[in-house]
Subunit: 339 residues, 2 copies
Amino acid sequence: MAKKKTSIKDIAKALGISITTVSFILNGKAREKRISEELTRKVQDYIQEIGYKPSHLAQSLRLGKSKVIVFMVEDISNSFFASIARLIEEKAYKNGYKIIYCSTDNDSEKAKELITTFKMRNVDGFIITPTPNLDNAILELLDEGLAVVLFDRWIPGIDCSYVVVENEISAYEATKHLIQGGCNNVGFVTVESSQTQMVDRLKGFQHAVKESNTKHSILEVKFHAIAEQEASEKILEFLKNHADLDGLFFSTNYLAFEGLQSLARLHKQIPKDVKVVSFDDHYFFNLYQPQISAIEQPLESIADKLMESILLQLDENSLGRKFQKITLPNELHVRQSSR
Amino acid sequence: MAKKKTSIKDIAKALGISITTVSFILNGKAREKRISEELTRKVQDYIQEIGYKPSHLAQSLRLGKSKVIVFMVEDISNSFFASIARLIEEKAYKNGYKIIYCSTDNDSEKAKELITTFKMRNVDGFIITPTPNLDNAILELLDEGLAVVLFDRWIPGIDCSYVVVENEISAYEATKHLIQGGCNNVGFVTVESSQTQMVDRLKGFQHAVKESNTKHSILEVKFHAIAEQEASEKILEFLKNHADLDGLFFSTNYLAFEGLQSLARLHKQIPKDVKVVSFDDHYFFNLYQPQISAIEQPLESIADKLMESILLQLDENSLGRKFQKITLPNELHVRQSSR
DNA sequence: TTGAAAGCGTTACCAT
DNA sequence: ATGGTAACGCTTTCAA
């Protein structure tokens, strides 16, 4: 059933030449090693004919690099991460890298386990949305000379490449947009988190409301609650307790989705009763009636920078470690929900 | 910078024993090989102490299996595939397998290329949503003894495991639901495709309308058009040309999304003017006002069966190849859009 | 009870 | 110009 795999040795034997020669030709070193045109041709033809493909496994073992990058995110089924996955895939494959994915659920124990598992697989690099308390694990990776790029959030105090967006500024602007649109009491629904992206969004919101001395309330939902769908109830309760809110800013799209459901249940009209803006744009925000204003993260640029940054570290020729710390701007799309 | 990796050899040297002994202990064969409790303990302690992890790469090379499964889908950013990705991930990791993903864009050339690339990586198995014309590539994989499971669609004439859903029956039922709800002229919007899942959905629709002799029209959008967003226009045009449609059945959720936009633009009321049902449920269908009726595919079961089936093939102990051909039932959720 | 050594498929150094 | 061979890190057979 299973066909015997042909190896470089078989080729050498079949052609009555040495392994070395075949290897050189295979690696395009025929010229350099001054192997005759004729032999080169012959070998290439034969290789073509039998459809030989070198074993990446053996190469990895020999070269010490596996050409595999781990894409470790909070949840690969989340549309933001899935989209990034799709975008980096292309660039990775183009550069000869494969991508293994895994989801941490924002659980640091799970993340640490995953990291050790991958280390024994000799992967070359990690693209990570760090969970809380991942400092040491990341430091170790760096210490072992692995390529690492963080994204979506970064870890203060760790000198490491990252690609994030302007969370604070965008949150500030979105909030200001609500206030300038006439909101006198604006609510901020976010996830309880000490991670940079959430902290910054909160800061942006607070900056805006304080600046204009606007009445406001904040709801922080626990992360696990989102998975367990009690987020919806929390939001409903929040909206009931703050019936006079005339503006709502959600720090993530999934919170906004829950919020929209709650608003519908309370028969609140958007934007008449309450204006709505969400962080992290989504296809549906355009589809929903009314269309929902949102801050769009530049997915393409994020993916570009992510790959650029990790390839830079993976590049043999670049001397010394080159860290890139990139913060990309977002775009606020004002739609019906906040006009 | 880069720490030297400790190998089994280093351990042997450090402890003044042979590599073999260490290997035996590492692989839990201490008992079997009757290695003294004392030595075993010593080795284990040392391993613990220096935090040694065996190289999976070397093991793979030696054992001839990499413990890697390729998850090759149409588009990993599509929520259906991303959700499945999330679900199989867990099961795979639990069984010591890692998952590499890739997207084919339903392009058979790309798919073939990806398959050859992965073969040289010595992956153990493939979970694939086959593109058209992938027959030979799949047959080769099977022939080489690799584990293969198709899903979402299968390839008639190829004896291979697959996990699909009851496309025809569900499409039939959904259409019948519209007709029984009073629709006299129902439209079917689908993707132009010769693949089983789409063919079956079309069959189901046709069966239902013919059975009840109901007036109907069909729009087949080209696959590439969806990516290029001209699908939206096609659908708009279709709706204009068939202004008397009072029922609409979309064969996929992304077509339904486009359709909803078009209906909104034409100021058609759902379900008053036209009732709507879509294949492939989505979080958003619950959120949309009115809520959209949809056929939900059993994601969990699909993922379960996918892993079960591939692990069965991967299992050393199971004699002979065991193909599983699984067809799972869906669930029609009747919501406001078709009541 | 433990060890030596072959072999998995490569690459690259050192010979010739 | 081409070939022999050690090494990458591991498993496993055979020998002691």
